[in-house]
Symmetry: C2
Subunit: 195 residues, 2 copies
């Protein structure tokens, strides 16, 4: 044992996540990162390896957090349609006046990095599969309870919902009107309504 770190690794990672989320991977310079993390360059490299490794850790943390959030929401009792409407409303909240328009880090990373970065592509694929499973299971529960038609293809519908979310992630980057987002959510969820 010797001299301990003067900074909280988790806290520094969270700060790095913020920077990557706001700027993207390429546009986030090591200087941007160290400033927001409150540490020196050498500490970053000693602790996290390099910029890419830091990004992988940040994206992994983001993936875990958001999956936890989705799980918590989707396993909440009550009609799935209400749950989904609430989730979507919460996701789109405060993005009109917000200056940053960060969107969803997974969407951002898929667009910026997935085609040329196998490690990121694999991470995102695992994330998508996990998210799809969460939605599929929620749909199957809603089918079992009779809320939603049993004829509906749960896997395909889960993928559909993920696609809606990805689209919203893009829409949020452009500072859209709240009405536009509400339109999208209303129509997207109407698929679960009657039949």
């Amino acid at each position: 044992m010797a001299r301990p770190k003067e900074f909280d690794e988790e806290q520094a990672l969270a700060a790095a996540l913020e920077v990557f989320w706001e700027k993207g991977y390429e546009a986030a310079s090591v200087q941007d990162l160290t400033e927001r993390m409150g540490i020196q360059k050498a500490s970053l490299y000693n602790t996290f390896g390099d910029k890419h490794a830091l990004f992988v850790r940040a994206l992994s943390a983001y993936s875990t957090e958001t999956l936890d959030w989705y799980r918590e929401q989707l396993e909440r009792p009550g009609p799935l349609r209400v749950t989904l409407a609430t989730m979507f409303r919460e996701m789109n909240e405060g993005c009109e006046d917000d200056e940053d328009c960060r969107g969803c880090l997974c969407v951002n990373s898929a667009v910026e990095l997935a085609p040329h970065d196998p490690a990121i592509a694999a991470l995102l694929q695992r994330h998508n599969q996990a998210q799809e499973d969460l939605f599929r299971r929620a749909l199957e529960r809603a089918q079992a309870s009779g809320e939603i038609p049993a004829a509906l293809d749960a896997v395909a519908t889960a993928r559909y919902l993920l696609n809606v979310i990805a689209g919203l992630g893009v829409a949020r980057k452009g500072g859209p009107s709240q009405k536009r987002l509400d339109d999208i959510v209303r129509i997207s969820l109407s698929i679960l309504d009657r039949h």
Copy 2:
């Protein structure tokens, strides 16, 4: 008059578009661009101004081309549902084996640049409005012909369809299975089916 250019400006612009489409704005270096455009650095700066101006021209050209394509497709006679299914299939074609996974340049640019680049954000907003209008008018025609319920909100549904397309643009970046894309399209279009 004096010495004429040795290269075709439109052709060079098309080559630049390819590079931006594959790599994104930041990751496309001026060297990448000049190599693919087949011109020298000074020619690029003399002809197009700077990298950003070149990108604006490339993105504008892309916007025009794709809007023309959407218009051509949507004004084709026949049931709108068939037209949309054909469009979506064509969009997703050959993206599984393709190595590049370029997705949609508008989506890519919205994610990478819109929050921090007002010029690009404005350009994309105009593009989105134009695209929304095309879809809305097609929906209204389909409503007039009785193919689609008149009760349906044409504006909201147009926005919904644009959102589906944006989602697919993200999905295509990750080299998804064809089945996943087909699932998304099938469920997304089912909104126009019965009622």
